[in-house]
Each structure stands twice: as C-alpha cells, then as structure tokens.
C-alpha cells in the first residue's frame, strides 16, 4: 500500500512536516517494502491552492493514505472525494511515523484546520 508522509527534509530520518499543503517534501512510502521515494513539494510556496495541488498529487501518485499534522479545508475536500485516508503523525522522523502507522498507532483525522494555517509554519 502506498502511503505519503509530509516531511521537513529529504531523507527518511527527516522530521515530519506538520503542514500538508505547504509541506516542504513528500515521502511516498510502500508499506510492504518500506522503500521511500522523496519528492519536493512544488506547491509549498504557491500563492494559493497549495492544499488542492498537493491533494491532486496524492491522487496522481496512487496514494491510499496520508500521514501529516494538519489538513486545510480544500485539501480535505479533495482527499475525501478521492477516498484517501488521513492520519495524524507526530514530530518524529517519517520512518518512525511509518512504523507507528504500520502498528496502527496513528489516529485518523476528519477535522480540518482553517485555510492558510500552514503559512505561518503550522504552529498553533
């Protein structure tokens, strides 16, 4: 199964990025092989519609679940329509987050945060 994690950096030891649409990188992982493909998020610096673009990328890459911190309303709409599940990760490496996901320790997210929440770096 293909899972995507929002990531601060470009290795599997990088810390998870709490933002979805404006995450710095996306790590697309295969839960069977535990192999990562890390891609830069071209939408991170876009003026608007970052969540929509990122969600569209998940669809195009055939991702079945997303592990991140927060998801905005637009991204949520797209992910829900695509029936992609969203799980809340924590501020540890993406590898650890994926381990936690495999152990079914991550909580599923249905609620969104306000628009442009991630533009201040995602801090509350």
């Amino acid at each position: 199964m293909k899972v995507c994690l929002s990531s601060n950096g470009n290795s599997s030891d990088s810390i998870m990025d709490p933002r979805f649409g404006r995450a710095a990188y996306f790590a697309i992982a295969d839960t069977d092989t535990m192999m990562f493909e890390i891609i830069e998020n071209s939408a991170a610096a876009s003026g608007g519609g970052a969540g929509i673009t990122s969600a569209q990328l998940m669809i195009d890459r055939g991702v079945k679940a997303v592990i991140t911190g927060n998801v905005g309303p637009n991204a949520m709409n797209v992910l829900k329509a695509a029936e992609i599940d969203i799980y809340r990760g924590s501020a540890v490496s993406i590898k650890e987050n994926l381990d936690n996901f495999n152990k079914r320790m991550l909580e599923k997210i249905d609620a969104t945060v306000p628009e442009h929440h991630g533009m201040q770096g995602g801090q509350k």
């Binding site: 876009s46 003026g47 608007g48 519609g49 929509i52 569209q56 669809i59 709409n77 797209v78 695509a82």
Partner: protein, 276 residues
C-alpha cells in the same frame, strides 16, 4: 477630470483628502474604490438608491460531457480545480475567472456560471459611488472594474483608492488624469510613499503629494519631495481638533471656511498639474 487619491501606507488620510475635496469643489462624483472597507460614506452620508450585484464567472463541469481527463485542472494556474476519480471539483474562492479551463477542455464540458462577490452602490444623483466586496472574498478587481465603467465625464471624478501599491490600486488609478499621494511624516509613511511614487511614475500619470499629520519636527517627506522635484500640494497639520472631529465623522471643511478654500486651492493645483 479624473483624480485618484492613493497613499501606499494605510491610514494616512486618503478618505479625509478625497471626501474633503468632494465637499469643497461643488458638483463632482466621489468613487470609493477601497472595496474591502469603503468608508467615504461615513463623511459624505449619501442615500444609496441603487445596489447592483457584481458577478464573476466560475467554471462548472457538465458530468455528462466530462470524461475526467483532467486537462482543466492542469490548465488552471491558480489550482482551483482538482479532478478526482473522473469528477471535476471546483474551488470557486480560489478561481481567478480567467477561463483557461474552458479553453483547455477537449469535451466542451465546462461552462461558466455567475457567482456574486460583491455589490456597487450608487446614490440618487450619481455623485456617490462605492464598491463593497463580500466578506471572505479575496479578489477586489471585478468590483473596481464595475465601478470604473460608471465614471462620469460631465463632472470631476475623485477616486478614493485602497492602500498599498498592488493590483487593486493599479486598477483604480489606470486612466486617471492626476494622482494625489497622501502620506504622513513617519518612516513607514515615507517608505510606502516612495513605492507609490515609483508606481505612478511608471504609469506616467502627473502627481503631487499631500502631507497629512504634518509637523515642524519631522520634515522627512518634504525633503524627499524637494530632492525628487515632487510638488507638495497641501499640508494638513497634526491636530487633535481634526482627529476628534474625524472620529465623529466630521471633516474640517464642513465647519471651517479656511479649510474649504485650502481644498479649493488644492483642486486648482491638481487641474494645473494635470494639464502639464
């Protein structure tokens, strides 16, 4: 004669100057282009007669014609369309109404539908016009465009612009005969004045400066204008009396003949400047 009043920095006195000018020069048309927060009505107290909705065109996909190819989403430069499981999802608030999706669709499945983003309001004798953008809407331009279609040619027109020097100001200022740049003697006021000056020079429109809240202690704006050979049209002193009246919605020109003649003089300078 079309006069735009702009500033760069917000809160320097654009509305004070444009409303005072409107009250001083006899018959004219005041146009509030600061559609996110129009406040000229506070001082001019018009009776609104007509309210006209402003619509923008946003796409809608016909599910029967759509084959889910996703070309519309790829064409959208504003990421306002996602295509999920063969279904087009449109995000109208993000759409910039460019129509690219319509052109990109090979199935001719996209049509454009109206979406109201604000209104324009006009008084009985068309001397007062204002735009009002709906709360939460991000794009002011369509409202300003509608306002500008209704500018009069038989009387002087005063356009009260929004702060800043971005698209909304460019849209408001375009086609005007003269620009009044209102500023205040603070570092921020001067900094943003310089940006506004650059913009107006680029647009090749004659302009002059009004220094509001002027003080003998700080001559930074005057020095900048002198160095750059920019005419200072008027100085309005820093005054508690003016500020107190303003807070009650009263402008100095309403109860003080001296101020009225100062604004009449301002208008004469503007007329001269526009002819140069």
């Amino acid at each position: 004669m079309k006069i735009a009043v702009l500033s760069g920095k917000g809160g320097t006195g654009k509305t004070t100057v444009s409303a005072s000018l409107a009250l001083s020069i006899g018959k004219c048309q005041y146009v509030d282009c600061d559609v996110e927060e129009p406040n000229g009505w506070v001082f001019l107290r018009p009776e609104i007669k007509n309210t006209i909705p402003v619509n923008v065109l946003v796409p809608e996909a016909d599910a029967l014609k759509c084959n889910g190819c996703g070309d519309c989403g790829k064409a959208c430069q504003f990421h306002a369309i996602a295509v999920v499981k063969g279904k087009v999802l449109v995000f109208p608030e993000i759409c910039h109404h460019c129509g690219a999706c319509l052109i990109a669709c090979p199935q001719e499945a996209i049509r454009e539908v109206n979406r109201e983003t604000g209104v324009i309001e006009i008084n009985e004798d068309n001397t007062f016009l204002q735009g009002r953008l709906n709360i939460g809407e991000p794009i002011s331009i369509p409202i300003i465009r509608e306002l500008k279609k209704r500018l009069r040619n038989d009387v002087p027109v005063i356009l009260d612009c929004s702060p800043g020097a971005s698209c909304t100001v460019v849209q408001s200022v375009g086609g005007c005969d003269y620009c009044i740049l209102v500023t205040e003697p603070t570092p921020f006021g001067l900094h943003d004045l310089k940006i506004a000056v650059q913009l107006i020079k680029n647009m090749e429109i004659p302009f002059g400066v009004v220094v509001n809240k002027a003080s003998q202690d700080n001559q930074s704006v005057q020095e900048f204008c002198k160095q750059n050979q920019i005419e200072i049209l008027l100085e309005i002193p820093y005054s508690q009396e003016i500020a107190q009246a303003y807070s009650k919605g009263i402008l100095p020109v309403e109860h003080n003949g001296d101020w009225k003649s100062k604004f009449e003089e301002l208008y004469q300078k503007v007329e001269r400047g526009a002819r140069k």
